[in-house]
Amino acid sequence: MAFLELRAVSKSYATDGKRTEVLRDINLEIDRGEFVAIVGYSGAGKTTLISLIAGLLQADSGRITLNDLDIVEPGPDRGIVFQTYSLLPWLTVYENVYLAVDQVFPNWSPAKKQQHTEKYIALVNLSPAREKKPAQLSGGMRQRVGIARALAMDPQILLLDEPLSALDALTRATLQDEIGRIWEKDRKTVVMITNDVDEGILLADRIIPLSAGPGATLGPELVVDIPRPRDRTAINHNERFKAIRREITDYLLDSRGRQRVTVSKKLQLPDLEPEDLWAPRSRAELRGGPVRRATMRRETVEI
């Protein structure tokens, strides 16, 4: 049996007496040490999926098991990094990470807890900022704290819920490289949710598209057999990169296309020219009404 397994998982929400099916028949198997990326549209149910694995939500039907045990509630065996940083604003970087360590390893000596906390802060290159509060950190640095906190709990599996979506393109690229580097160091099992196909291909062993909702389901998976470490520039030459990128993008665009409802409706665009607000026409001309393209005079001049 696989390390993490989802069998025929479905989930729907009820609002105002209406049931909306979010996820339909999700089947997924992840082996120990694998890095799997799930790509999909925002609103497709990606966060619902990760919350189910985290135990923050319960599935309507189907089964989720980690290490052959049913997931019924959240626990420290699954570390989560959220899109919004979810740090405690009144605690420093060090205290935010220490809090998690203290919860998960209450029997350790204070010295060991401290050493452990510092090790993970160093891992994400934040040692110089350990005494800063979240408000004094940039978005990229805050997300590093989130990653350090999740890893310090030494979880069996790391769940990343669009960890980089709130960051600008350059910071995003730096942190992608960093996540890749950290992952190669300790090879945790990772499930990453993202809306960026390139990000998925750059980091994951396997990439799986989540079709557009409602009733989203996982599409055909693609194995990213591109050797590591993967360089974001060099990867552009890679034929596999191009093929995977195209296949995933096609699947997602098609799944969206199938969801779209088209209506045929008669629309009329009036034949009008905008008024020139700097060179207004004379009052008499204005009284004649708007300028229409169809009536614009053509003047012939002799040369």
Binding site: G40, Y41, S42, G43, N125, S165, D168, A169, L170, T174, D177, E178, R181, N195, D196, V197, D198, D231, R232, T233, A234, N236, H237, K242, R245, R246, T249, D250, L252, L253, R256, V263, K265, L267, Q268, L269, P270, L272, E273, P274, E275, D276, L277, W278, L286, G289, P290, V291
Partner: protein, 284 residues
């Protein structure tokens, strides 16, 4: 075809306590009527400053900008601007937001015709069912659709787009690029767009102008994109030249990565490499 928009020796400086800071220096660019041009560069390189000068929202220190034979002074409805965040008035519906500009520019037309314009553009961008909702009741992608409809509804001579899809996720971005390019073809507009998304520029533009980093930003390189129109994304992605052009743009951006960013970044990043030898042939 003659040049429709001409930027000649456009310069922008800001006064600082340490003396004037030159953001853009002697920037020259000409755009033909109906052309779609993308400006690409790192954030802070001055590309948005340049766009807002064309929009008339930012004064020019030296040089001049000519649109359709007239020098530009100040903002005006002959340039439709789509901002990074859609900047809609929250207390008005999508329809009322679009009507605001239409009422100004088509003030001589009867009301039912003005409403027809708003209805037309909102329907074409895919908001037919949602045009009477307020911005808070719309998703980020839908709000940006309203922004696009509002810009086109004024029949501007020129469209200015300042990273219009920068805040959307990459898949919603694909959809809106399609909406934008369909409208652009239908109305045959001239467009100038600022972006840092390489794939977006390749899908939309006829010409991509790469800017060097500020201060004193200037044109670093120009890439002509000659994929047949109308473009279908799958075909563009499958085009044999696509990844060569993409590589060329990415190399340019990497070579011009922020100097300070490069010095500050703690982990060693991939060393910037020289442009790919094949890429040089793309240039003219």
């Amino acid at each position: 075809m003659s040049d429709y928009l001409i930027l000649s020796k456009v310069t922008k400086t800001y006064d600082t306590p340490k003396g004037p800071a030159v953001i853009v220096k002697d920037f020259d660019l000409s755009i033909k009527r109906g052309e779609f041009v993308c400006l690409i560069g790192h954030s802070g390189c001055g590309k948005s400053t340049l766009l807002s000068m064309v929009a008339g929202l930012n004064d020019i220190t030296a040089g001049g900008i000519i649109l359709a034979g007239r020098e530009l002074v100040g903002p005006g409805p002959d340039r439709g601007v789509v901002f990074q965040s859609p900047c809609l008035l929250p207390w008005l519906t999508a329809f009322e937001n679009v009507m605001l500009g239409i009422d100004q520019v088509f003030f001589t037309a009867p009301k039912y015709e003005r409403q027809q314009i708003a209805e037309y553009y909102l329907s074409v961008v895919g908001l037919g069912e949602f045009m009477h909702r307020k911005p808070a009741e719309l998703s980020a992608g839908m709000r940006q659709r309203v922004g696009i409809a509002r810009a086109f509804a004024l029949s501007p001579k020129m469209l200015l787009l300042d990273e219009p899809f920068g805040m959307l996720d990459s898949l919603t971005r694909f959809e809106l690029q399609q909406v934008l390019i369909d409208l652009w073809r239908r109305d045959q507009k001239t467009a100038l767009m600022v972006t840092h998304d390489v794939d977006e520029a390749l899908f939309l533009a006829d010409r991509i102008v790469m800017m060097t980093n500020g201060p004193e930003a200037e044109v670093g390189d120009i890439l002509h994109v000659e994929f047949a129109r109308p473009r279908v994304r799958k075909e563009v992605l499958d085009h044999p030249d696509y990844y060569r052009l993409r590589e060329h743009l990415i190399s340019f951006l990497e070579n011009h990565a922020h100097k300070e960013q490069r010095e500050k970044a703690p982990p060693p990043r991939a060393t910037p490499r020289a442009p790919h030898p094949e890429a040089a042939q793309v240039l003219d």
